[in-house]
Subunit: 359 residues, 2 copies
């Protein structure tokens, strides 16, 4: 793909004249299809004063991106037709006119679905490759890890002996939620789709139980068997019928950390569901929606703590890495179907030679 | 109704040998009908050691009672078929073998739908008739008033300048919520059914706006006109489509104090409704269900404060008093239809001569 190389005056890396990116071709109706995206070849820009040029190594694919494909006001502005898809990345600084970053730095930044991207550095964060594989900055040590940490502790507020249920348990966020809750002395029950994910959650991550929502039969009965003392904390990533069943088994004073509702993201009109206000009143349930960036001022200490736990092996993680930017649309469509297994990322570019590979 | 009188050895009041009570005849299917209740004549018991006999003056009728007519576990145990309907009352102590209460005391207690009732005093509270009409101990200075106070302040947490919306705004709880929120410097918007209730809320209670949910047209549009800066606090007494419309207009960081859902109480199966999790996440909504007794340890100072405000006229209230225990079933059925106007009570017995009538 390197059509030509320049030896730039503003850096010392070899930069191709053009690169590939994925833009939103049209707004999906229901489940996205590959034709909703378009792979483009564009000219590599030069970073201007105060900017860096990032060569993307790993692109994070996350459920929230489905919301940005809609033409509707949300907490994030919608992506326009023809605009590049946004996303968190881990990349290598290959050009810098920014005082805080130098060529060779590995950064995590909120950029986009492309091989190269210019950043003003405002949301860029230099990462230490010695702590863990750099891709973890998109995962357990990045946005999903922070989501798990703050959603669980600030909103779920688990106490030892309580039962914590987390949906999408083998996913980027769920796997961290469950392991942290175990460390807090809770009974931890995951909900995941299929025997492989459930086995991983149970055997590798050490959850106490995992309920397969695709297993057939009465999901509520399976859940009740896994939660004989009811449910005190529900960390909800999926919404839908799974969450209804959890609601019916909440204990008095239960807390719901409402992180996402992936089961609903492809719906063009709200799904109809039973109203259950009586459970919320009678059991004094607190449900709180959150976005991880609400807790940004508290990230650093949490990241240090979790970095130590990752390095020591106390905190495990699983990533699902798909190679090639051209595969991002298909992988994203699969994410919304629950086809990924662990934190989904696209390997967009080769890691630079000489990166340590801890863990 | 006085079939005979006894001059009791355990008191000095004239007590009839029998009295009337209302029992649950059968479990309602959907909307209760009068045949679900039965008026009975029973023998007046003597209070035993540690008990009082209360002559009921006012019986409080409240939406939560519908839940107790169901054969389902809730926060309150269900009433058995043939058992007397439970309810809060204000009454006169007409017999006492209890060290803390004497004949002539006016008490508020959790008793039942009957003209006389024995109490062990555990939940009885002597009230001061000089503060306000004694019926207010079932209303603004009783359970509904405490519900408003703690639901608003502890859960709604209104700040000056915010917009507070309260449903069932002219009801026992809603009227207090709105007046307190006004005192806190909020824009206060009521939701009520019909022009008379809306006029009362607006003109008598001083809310900034009131939306008539029975007015026809697009309720969401009417609500938006009344809430030009969105909604920060929603005190929900009704649930259903009214609450859906409010949800769509919540501001970021909004709080929902989930007090009740009277629109749903007659439903034998949950009503189907659109799922709206995206609003809860994107706007970081906190929704918390509560029951007033959660705050019982804090009642006394709130009651003193509200008593002062009632006495001085800063806090207004409206009661809907229906005379005669035999009318309790019909009045209760009407309550669930929103036919009452203000705090619904049954005047079961005449107030004793010599009670002050403040206010």
């Amino acid at each position: 793909m390197l059509t030509s190389l320049t030896l730039s005056s503003w850096g010392f890396a070899m930069i191709p004249k053009t690169y590939r990116r994925v833009v939103l071709a049209k707004r999906p109706v229901g489940e996205p299809v590959e034709a909703d995206f378009r792979l483009e070849q564009v000219v590599t820009p030069e970073p201007q004063h105060g900017e860096i040029l990032v060569r993307v190594l790993y692109l994070s694919l996350d459920p929230y991106m489905r919301g940005r494909m809609r033409d509707a006001v949300s907490y994030a502005a919608p992506i326009g037709i023809g605009e590049v898809m946004g996303g968190g990345v881990v990349g290598e600084v290959v050009g810098s006119r920014h005082a805080m970053f130098k060529v060779g730095d590995i950064v995590e930044d909120r950029l986009s679905w492309q091989e190269y991207a210019v950043s003003n550095g405002a949301t860029a964060r230099r990462i230490d490759p010695a702590i863990a594989p750099v891709s973890t900055a998109n995962g357990i040590l990045g946005m999903p890890g922070m989501t798990a940490y703050f959603g669980l502790y600030e909103i779920g507020q688990p106490r030892a002996g309580e039962t914590v249920v987390v949906s999408a348990a083998s996913g980027a966020v769920g796997q961290v939620v469950g392991q942290l809750a175990k460390m807090s002395g809770c009974r931890v029950v995951g909900i995941a789709g299929g025997p492989a994910k459930c086995a991983y959650v149970l055997n590798e991550l050490g959850f106490d139980a995992c309920v397969d929502y695709k297993a057939g039969g009465d999901f509520g009965v399976l859940l009740r068997e896994a939660c004989p003392r009811g449910i005190d904390v529900y960390f909800d990533n999926v919404g839908g019928f799974v969450s209804d069943a959890v609601t019916l088994q909440l204990n008095t004073w239960a807390r719901i950390a409402l992180c996402g509702a992936i089961s609903q993201y492809n719906a063009d009109a709200p799904e109809m569901a039973p109203r259950l206000p009586g459970f919320f009143v009678g059991r004094r349930v607190t449900m709180r929606g959150f976005i991880v960036s609400d807790f940004a001022p508290k990230y650093e200490p949490a990241r240090v703590l979790m970095g130590d736990m990752v390095r020591s092996g106390r905190l495990k993680f699983r990533e699902d890495i798909v190679v090639g930017l051209e595969n991002a649309p298909r992988a994203f469509i699969g994410l919304l179907r629950g086809e990924n297994f662990g934190k989904l990322q696209i390997k967009v570019g080769a890691e630079p030679a000489g990166l340590p590979h801890p863990g």
